[in-house]
Amino acid sequence: MFKGLVGAVILGSAMLANASQSADAVIAAATEANKQAKSLGYEWNVTGKAIKAAQAALKAGNEAEALKLAEHAKYMAEASIFQAGDEKKNWMLRVPK
């Protein structure tokens, strides 16, 4: 739980750092991170949709909205990668003895 919080804080600050980037770049980063989550077997089913929504907003010329959606998508992709790493270490805690 504590580790989860730390992870969220780290991811949160990564999000802030992105604020000056273009929507296009953040969409690319989100897509890349989601690919990694998928290869780990931990893709969330909400991330791909969020990326698509960001792309649609960008296409419609709404850069600010696209950036916001892309950052959220990137956050979710990164959180799922974090989850994969955390679970690799912790799943065995749940095996009954």
């Binding site: 089913n45 979710m76 989850q83 799943w91 065995m92 095996v95 009954p96 003895k97």
Partner: protein, 274 residues
């Protein structure tokens, strides 16, 4: 501090011992967990899923079972089982009897993978020049319903051979069962082990002991039959995880683990569920 470290070491040891425990120790601990948690369930009754622990809902379910909604699928499946392929053969030529449940899932050392009964049906079709069936519902669920019906009463007796590759497949299934995933961060075990008997929205969560006994299932929510892997995908989607492919390695290994955990119970498919 020293105490803490010692505690950490002891804890670490216990944990790694259980993570590395062999299939047999796993199964004993798994079954003991449910037997302790639900001492009222009579031996063998976990095959009835959530109804084994919900006497109220059980009556309603037993009324449904008197006119089973999966009956049509059994008939359709029997027909498909005997339907002649373009090459003159049929599914019936691939199996010595339709009562095959007890032989699956098994580790195929030549293919180097777990083979489920549904996969064997599709392999038979492909070997005879036919297209494989879709893997979640429809024809495959019907054939599976017929074969399961013919197999009723067979003992669940999955074998994990002493082969590192087979044990690795089993361990992958085990890890999948216990890992939290999806945006909601739930593992199968969170709901079907530690949460069994508790409610998730309008549903009481069933014990995982017995989960693999009664497939395919006619589900009122689906208004149709579905395979076990369809259910896996549904449960993964509900926690906002991207589901794996039905009949892919992940779910086949999960079925291998989950069915092995129910060794000693009976196959009683097809089933009916809410």
């Amino acid at each position: 501090m020293k105490k803490l470290t010692q505690l950490g070491m002891v804890f670490g040891m216990v944990v790694s011992a259980s993570a590395l425990a062999g299939p047999e120790e796993d199964r004993t601990a798994f079954q003991n967990f449910y037997e302790k948690r639900f001492p009222q369930v009579v031996e063998g009754d976990f095959i009835n899923g959530v109804y084994s622990i919900l006497p109220g809902a059980r009556e309603q379910w037993e009324a449904i079972e008197e006119f089973p909604p999966y009956e049509v699928a059994i008939e359709e499946g029997e027909e498909l089982y005997n339907t002649v392929f373009a090459n003159g053969k049929s599914l019936a030529d691939c199996f010595d009897t339709p009562a095959q449940r007890e032989n699956y899932p098994y580790w195929d050392s030549e293919k180097g993978k777990v083979v489920t009964m549904e996969q064997a049906v599709n392999d038979c079709r492909v070997a005879n020049g036919e297209k494989p069936y879709k893997t979640k519902k429809g024809a495959l669920a019907a054939v599976s319903a017929y074969m399961s019906y013919e197999s009723r009463g067979q003992a669940i007796n999955v074998v994990i051979p002493d082969d590192p590759a087979a044990i690795a497949a089993y361990n992958e299934g085990k890890e999948l069962f216990y890992t939290k995933r999806g945006q909601l961060n739930f593992s199968c075990s969170d709901c079907h082990m530690y949460g069994a008997g508790l409610n998730a929205r309008a549903d009481t969560m069933s014990p995982a002991f017995g989960h693999a006994s009664h497939w395919p299932v006619y589900r009122s929510k689906w208004q149709a039959m579905g395979t076990l892997h369809r259910r896996f995908a549904g449960c993964n989607t509900n926690i906002r995880a991207k589901p794996f492919k039905a009949q892919g390695t992940e779910y086949s290994n999960l079925e291998y683990f989950l069915t092995y955990m129910s060794n000693g119970l009976e196959f009683n498919g097809p089933g009916a569920r809410k």
